[in-house]
Amino acid sequence: MVVIRDFAFQGAQMLLVLLLAPMLTGLVRVVKARLLRRRGPPLLQPYRDLIRLLRKEVVLAHSASWLFRVIPYLVFAGTWVAASLVPTFRSGLLFSWSADLIALIALLGSARFFLALAGLDVGTSFGGIGSSREVMIASLAEPAMLMIVFTVALIAGSTQLSVMAAHMTSGAVGLRVSLGLALLALIMVSIAENARIPIDNPATHLELTMVHEAMVLEYSGRHLALIDLASELKLLFYVSVIACLFIPWGIAPPDGNAGAIAVGAASYVAKLAAGAVLLAVFETSIAKMRVFRVPAFLGAALMLGLLGTLLLFVSGTL
Amino acid sequence: MIDALAGVLVIPAAAAVLLAALPGYRLTARLNVLAALLTFVTASSLFVVHPESGTYLLVDDLNKVFIVLTTFVGFTTSVFSASYIGHEIEIGRLTPRFVRFYHAMYQVLMFAMNLALVANNIGLMWVAIEMATLTTVLMVGIYRTHEALEAAWKYFILGSVGIALALFGTILIYMAARPVIGEGVDAMVWSALMSRAAQFDPALLNLAFIFLLLGYGTKVGLAPLHAWLPDAHAEGPTPISAVLSGLLLNVALYALLRFKMLLALNPEAIAPGPLMVIMGLISCLFAAFMLYRRRDIKRMFAYSSIEHMGIIVFAFGMGGALANFAGLLHMTMHSLTKSAIFFAVGHIAQVKGTQKIADMGGLTVTNPVLGWGLVLGVVAIAGLPPLGIFMSEFLVVSSTFAREPWLAIILALGILVALGGLFLRLNTIAFGEPRGPTAKAEASYVPMFAHLALVFMAGIYMPAPLVKGFENVARLLG
C-alpha cells in the first residue's frame, strides 16, 4: 500500500516536472517581454512549439551518424530522470536515494557529454564552435557545482537532497557565511549551465555569441523538440534544486497528509514563478559577455564554492 | 697431492714452449684450446682434492675461486680466439709468425696469472703479476699499428711505474715482518705473514699498503691510475681485451685483497677499507661519465670494466659478510659477462670491419644472433635482472644503504649514469636502421652464450656449493 502510494508520488513528480518545464521557460519569456514593453508570446507558446516540432519530419544531414539520432533521446532521458529525482513538493520520494546530488550533477554531465558529441557529429564548423565552448564552460561549471555541493553537504551531513532539505528546514542551520557563498555560486553556475544571458543567449543565432544553439544547429523535428524540452527540464532542475536547498519551506514531509501536499505543491509553483521572474529581471538588466570573459565569471563561482568548503573545513561553525 | 696445484702451472708453461716451437695456426690454435682445457680441468680438480700449501704454493678457499674462474675464462677465450685469429689471418691482419708468438704468449700469460694466484710468497706473486703485465704489453702491441704501439707503450710505462711502487710496498711488508718472523724467505710467505700479522709494525704496514694500493691498483685499473686500460683494450686483439678485463684485473685485485686481509689482522694499522671505498667510488663515477663520449666500441666496454672494478673494490672496501659476498659474486659475474661481451664485440668488429660505433647500426636486424647476444650482454653488464650482476649490485647497494646512506646513493647514481651511457650506445649499435657492411659472421657463438647462460643462471639460482665457497671466502675476507 505504502509502496504503491510512493510509486504514485514518484510518477506524479515525473509528470509534474515534465509538464511544468515548458511553462517555466514560457513564463521567463513573457516576463522578459513585458519588461521590454513587448506583448511577447503567450505563456503556452513553448508547448505549441514542441508539438509543432514533434509533428514535423526530421531532416538529417548526410554525414550524420546513428549516434546523432540516438543522442536526443539520451539527453532527454538523462535530464528528465535528474529533474524527477529532486524533491519538489514532497521530500522522501521513492527513488530519491537512487542518486544523490553528486550523481544528479554527473547525470546532467552525461547529457551534456552526448550533446557536445552531437555538435561534432555532422562535421560542420558551427557545431564545433558550440561543442568546444560548451565543454570549456562545463570544465569550470562542474567543479564549481561540486564545490557548492560539498559546502551544503558538509552542513547537512549528507548528499541526499531529501535529507538536506529536511536539515535545512530544521532550522538547526541558522545563517552561515558559507551558505551565502554557496547560494551565490549556485546561481552563477545555474545561469551558465542553462545558457542564459550573460553567458549565452538562447534567443539568437548570431554565430559569434551562441554556444548551446550552435551545438544543436543541425537538429530538426522531433529531435529538436526533445532537446528543447531537455533544456527546459534542466532549467527547472536548477530552479528546483535552489528551491529545495535554500528555500525548502513548504515541502511536504514523506508522511504528510493531503493538505501538506497541497501546500507543498502550491509553494513549489510559487517558488518556480519567483525564480522565473528573478531570472527574467536579471537577464534584462545585464548584457551578454564575450565568450572569453566567461572563465572569469565561472572562476569566481568556483572560488566562492571552494571558499565556502574551506570555511567549513577550517571551522565547522561558519 | 700438490701436483694438482703444480699442474695449473706446468701445463701452461709446457704449452707455451710447445706453441712457440710449432708453426701453422690451425694446429696451434687447437693445442692452445686443449692446453687451456687441461688447465681448467686440473684447476677444478682442486675442489675435489685438497692439496695442502707449501712454502711457495698456497691454496685456500680464496684463491681456489680465483683459479677456477681464471682457468675457465682462459679456456673459453681460447676457443673464441681460435675463430677470431682465423679470421684475422684471412684478412691478413696477422702473419703466421705473429700468431705463433701470440699463442705462446697466451699460455705464458695463463701461467703467470695462475702463478700469481697460487704463489705463497709476496715476492713471487709480485714477479708473476709483473710477468703477466709484460706479456700483455707485448700482445697489445701485436698489430704493430701506430695506435697499437702507442697503447702498448703507454701501458708499458705506466705499468712499470706500477711495478716499482708495488715492489716498494712488498719490501716494506718484508721490513715489517722481519723483526717478528726473522730474516729470510719466511718473512715473505703468506701463511707465515697471516699468522703473525698482529705483531707487525703498523706504521710500516700502512706505508706498505699505500704503495701496494697504488701499485696493484694500477693493474686493477682504478681511477686515476686507469689511463693504460682503455687504450690497451681498444688496440689489442679482442681475445686479449677479454682476458684483460676478465682475468688480469681480477688477479691484481686478488693481490690487493690479500694485503687488505693482512692489514685487517693488525689492530693498530689503518683500516684499508675506507681507502678502497673511496677509490672504488671515484672509479665507478668517473668511468660511468666517460662512457658517454666513446666512439670506439671496445674502449667503451673497457671503461665499463673500470666502472665495475670500482664497484667491486667498493664492495670489498665496505667489508662485512654481505658486501664481501656481493663483491665476489660481482667479480665473477663481471668476468663472465665482460668476456662474453668482448667475444660478441670481436665478431661485430670483424663483420663491420671497424670499431667505430658510428659505422655500425641495426645489428639485431643484420646479424640477429650477434646483435641480441650483445644486447643480452649489455643488459647483464648494466645490472638488470634476471642476470647475475643485478643480484650483486642489489646486495652491495642495499647492504651499504643501511650503513652508509650517502655512499650507497652515490654508488647508485654511478650505476644509473653508467646504464644511461651503455644504452645510449647500444641503441645505435643494435637497433635502428642497419649501417655499415652486413656480412654474415662466421663466428663461434658457443663461448659467448655459455658465459651468458652461466650469468643468467647465477641471477636466479645459485648452487649451494658455490654459495658455500663464496661464504667461506667472504668470512675469510672479514
Binding site: 532521458a77 561534432l120 564545433g128 561543442s131 560539498f150 | 711505474v161 644509473l416 646504464l419
Partner: protein, 667 residues
C-alpha cells in the same frame, strides 16, 4: 593456490623460448596469444578464488638470494591485483589474437610478451625484497624490449631510452627503500619487516623513496615524463598492458609498502601523497587536452587516473593515521576500485586506438574523422570507454570517483590543520580533472570518430577483426556491469581492505535494489542499476511515444550549418581548434601556450598562419637540466682520455703524495 599461480607464471616463461623458435612461422602469434589468453584466465580465476575466501597461501622456492630463497605469498591484496593484471592480460591477448596478425616483426614482440606478463604477475606474488625487485625490473626490461620492438620508427628508440632510464631510477629508489627496511644484515623477507616495522623517521624516508620508486613507474607528476613517450610507442595491445596494468602493478608496490610494511603512518605522509595525487590528476588531463596523437592522449589520461588513485590512497593514509578506520576503508576501497575500473576502460580505449591505427595507419586525430560510419562497432566500444573514463554515470568510472568524493566529505573530522586546508583543494582538483576529462574525451571521440573523414585513409577504413572486437566488447560489458552493480565489486574488495586496515566498507550485497551505501543511507547512496534502468526506460518510452503519436518521418539532406555548408572536410573543427578555448583558459599559465598569428598584408598571396607554441615546463625544469649536466660533465671529463703519458704519471704521482700526506697527518 600460490603454487598453481607460479606454475602459470612458469608456463609464461616457457612460452618465451617457444615464441623465439616459432617466431618465423605465420601461426606463431596465434599459438602464443592463445596460450597467453588461457594462462591469464587461469590466473584470474586463481585470484578470484583467493579473494572470495581462500586463506593466504605462501611458498618458498630455492631461487634468488641463496640463503634466503624466493618467497611468494598470495593474500587478498595480491589476489585483487592478480585479477586486475590478468583480466587486462586476458583482454590484451584476446585482442592480440587479431591485432597481432598485422605485426610486421613478430619475432620482436612474441618472445617478450609472455615474459612481460610473467614479470607483472611475479611482482604481485613476491614476498621478499629481492624477488620483488627482480620481477619489477624484469617487467621494465621486457616492456622496454616491447617498446623498442618497432625500433625503426622515429622516436621509438628515444622513448625506450628515457623509459629504461626512468625505470632504472625507480628501481634504485625502491632498492634503497628496501635496503633501509632490511637493515645492515639484510632482512629482505617481508614477514620480518612486518614483524619489526621501522621507526617513524626511517619509515618516512622509506615512504618517500617508495613514492619516488613506485610513482615513477606509475607516472605521477613530475616523474611521468617517460610514460606518454613509451606507452604509445609499443604495439597497441602492449600499450594497453603498460597503461592499464603495469601502472597498477606500480600502485600495488606503493600500497604494499605504505599500508603493509611500514606500520602505522604519520599524518603528513598523506599530505605528500594527496598533493602529488591532486597535481598529477589535473596536470595529466591538461597535458592530454593539448595532445592530438590519440595514443599519447590516452597515455596522459593514465597519468590523470593514477593521480585520482593516489588521492584515494592519500585519504586512506590520513584516516588511518588518525585511527578513523571506517573512513580509511572507504577511501582505500575507492582507490582500489578505481585501479580496477581504470585498468578496464584504459585497456578498452587503447584497443580502440589500436584498431583505428590498424585500419587507417594513423595515430594523429587531425587525420581521422567519420570513423563511426566505417567502423561502427569499434566506435561503439570506444564510446563506452570514453563515457566510463569521463566518470559519467551509469558506467564504472563514476562509481570510484563518487566513492572518492564521499571519502573527501568525511574528512572535516581530520584534526590536522594542514589536511584541513589541503583536502578541500584536492577535492577541487579532483572535480576539475573529472570535468576536464569529459571535455578531453568529447574531443577524442568527436574528432576521430565523428564528423567527416579528413584523409582518404580515414575515408576507406574498414571494421577491425572479430577477435579485437570480442576483446573490446568484453571490456565494455565489464564497464557497464561494474557501473550498474558496483556493490559486488566493493564487497569483493573487502578482504583486501580487511587485510590492510582490519576493517572494510559495510557489506553492500544485502541492500534492497542493490544500492551502494558507503556510510549510512541518510548520508549518501547511489544506485547505478536504477539510474541506468530509468534512463533506458524513459528514453525508450519517449522514443516509442513519439514514433507512435507524432511523426517518425525522416529525410536525408545536406547539412544546414547556418546556410553556409562547406563541402571540404577541412572546414570542420580540428582537435587543436576544439581544445583552443580550454587552452586559452588553462594553457597560458600551465604551458606558457602562445598563439603566433601571421597575417599577410592585403594583396599578398601567401596564406595566413596561426601557430601555437606550447612548452612543457616540467620537462624544462626537471629533465633538460640533467641532460645539460651530463653533457657538461662528460665533456669536461673526456679530456682525461687524451692526456700525455707524463700527465698520467703526474696523476699517479699526486695520488701517491696525497695518500702519503694523509698517512703523515693520520692519528
Amino acid at each position: 593456490m600460490v603454487t598453481f599461480a607460479l606454475f602459470c607464471v612458469a608456463a609464461f616463461l616457457l612460452l618465451s623460448p617457444v615464441a623465439v623458435v616459432l617466431s618465423r612461422s605465420p601461426r606463431a602469434s596465434g599459438v602464443v596469444y592463445a596460450s597467453c589468453l588461457l594462462v591469464t584466465l587461469m590466473l584470474a580465476v586463481v585470484g578470484g578464488m583467493c579473494l572470495v575466501g581462500q586463506p593466504t597461501s605462501r611458498i618458498t622456492l630455492p631461487l634468488g638470494l641463496p640463503w634466503l630463497g624466493a618467497h611468494f605469498r598470495l593474500d587478498a591484496l595480491s589476489a585483487f591485483f592478480l585479477i586486475v593484471v590478468n583480466l587486462g592480460g586476458a583482454a590484451a591477448s584476446m585482442f592480440a589474437l587479431g591485432y597481432g596478425q598485422h605485426e610486421h616483426t613478430p619475432e620482436r614482440v612474441l618472445p617478450f610478451y609472455p615474459a612481460y606478463l610473467a614479470g607483472m604477475n611475479v611482482v604481485v606474488l613476491a614476498d621478499d625484497a629481492f624477488s620483488f625487485l627482480v620481477a619489477w625490473e624484469f617487467m621494465s626490461l621486457t616492456s622496454w624490449a616491447l617498446v623498442v620492438a618497432h625500433h625503426r620508427e622515429r622516436d621509438n628508440l628515444q622513448a625506450g631510452y628515457i623509459y629504461l632510464l626512468m625505470a632504472g631510477f625507480g628501481t634504485l629508489a625502491l632498492l634503497l627503500a628496501f635496503g633501509l627496511l632490511a637493515g645492515g644484515d639484510g632482512n629482505y623477507l617481508f614477514d620480518l619487516v612486518r614483524a619489526a616495522p621501522p621507526s617513524a623517521g626511517v619509515a618516512a624516508i622509506v615512504l618517500v623513496l617508495a613514492l619516488v620508486g613506485a610513482g615513477s613507474k606509475a607516472g605521477v607528476v613530475p616523474l611521468h615524463a617517460w610514460l606518454p613517450l613509451a606507452h604509445p610507442a609499443a604495439p597497441s595491445h602492449v600499450s594497453a598492458l603498460m597503461s592499464g596494468v603495469m601502472t597498477k602493478v606500480a600502485v600495488y608496490g606503493f600500497v604494499r609498502i605504505a599500508f603493509d610494511l611500514l606500520g602505522p603512518p604519520v599524518w603528513w605522509w598523506s599530505m605528500l601523497v594527496l598533493a602529488i595525487g591532486g597535481i598529477t590528476a589535473v596536470m595529466g588531463v591538461l597535458y592530454a587536452l593539448m595532445q592530438h596523437d590519440l595514443k599519447r592522449l590516452l597515455a596522459y589520461h593514465t597519468v590523470e587516473n593514477i593521480g585520482i588513485i593516489f588521492i584515494g590512497l592519500g585519504l586512506a593514509l590520513a584516516f588511518k593515521a588518525y585511527g578513523m578506520a571506517d573512513a580509511a576503508a572507504l577511501a582505500l576501497t575507492a582507490g582500489l576500485l578505481h585501479v580496477f575500473n581504470h585498468s578496464i576502460f584504459k585497456s578498452l580505449l587503447f584497443f580502440g586506438a589500436g584498431a583505428v591505427l590498424n585500419a587507417t595507419g594513423e595515430r594523429d586525430m587531425e587525420h581521422l574523422g567519420g570513423l563511426i560510419h566505417r567502423m561502427p562497432q569499434t566506435a561503439f566500444a570506444f564510446l563506452v570507454g570514453c563515457v566510463a573514463i569521463s566518470a559519467l554515470p551509469p558506467l564504472n568510472g563514476f562509481v570510484s570517483e563518487w566513492l572518492t568524493f564521499q571519502a573527501i566529505l568525511l574528512s572535516p573530522q581530520l584534526p590536522s590543520w594542514g589536511l584541513k586546508f589541503l583536502v578541500p583543494a584536492v577535492g577541487g582538483l579532483l572535480a576539475l580533472s573529472a570535468a576536464l576529462a569529459a571535455a578531453c574525451f568529447v574531443k577524442a571521440f568527436g574528432i576521430s570518430f565523428l564528423g567527416r573523414p579528413r584523409t582518404p585513409a580515414a575515408a576507406d577504413a574498414n571494421e577491425t577483426d572479430s577477435h579485437s572486437l570480442a576483446a573490446m566488447f568484453f571490456l565494455s560489458a565489464l564497464c557497464l556491469v561494474a557501473g550498474v552493480l558496483p556493490g559486488i565489486f566493493i564487497d569483493a574488495l573487502a578482504p583486501a581492505t580487511n587485510a590492510l586496515l582490519g576493517v572494510s566498507m559495510p557489506h553492500q550485497a544485502g541492500l534492497d535494489w542493490l544500492t551502494v551505501v558507503p556510510v549510512a543511507e541518510s548520508r549518501s547512496s547511489y544506485n547505478g542499476l536504477l539510474v541506468f534502468v530509468f534512463v533506458v526506460m524513459s528514453g525508450s518510452i519517449a522514443a516509442f511515444a513519439i514514433h507512435r503519436l507524432a511523426s517518425d518521418k525522416l529525410r536525408r539532406g545536406p547539412a544546414w550549418d547556418c546556410g553556409y555548408p562547406d563541402a571540404s572536410p577541412a572546414t570542420q573543427y580540428t582537435a587543436s581548434s576544439f581544445a583552443q578555448p580550454i587552452r586559452r583558459v588553462y594553457g597560458t599559465t600551465v604551458f606558457h601556450a602562445r598563439e603566433v598569428g601571421d597575417m599577410p598584408p592585403p594583396g599578398a598571396a601567401r596564406p595566413a598562419r596561426l601557430t601555437v607554441e606550447i612548452r612543457d615546463l616540467i620537462w624544462d625544469a626537471a629533465y633538460a637540466p640533467i641532460a645539460v649536466f651530463i653533457e657538461y660533465a662528460t665533456g669536461r671529463l673526456n679530456v682525461l682520455q687524451f692526456l700525455t703519458i707524463r700527465r698520467y704519471l703526474t696523476l699517479v704521482f699526486s695520488a701517491l703524495v696525497l695518500l702519503l700526506l694523509v698517512l703523515a697527518i693520520w692519528s
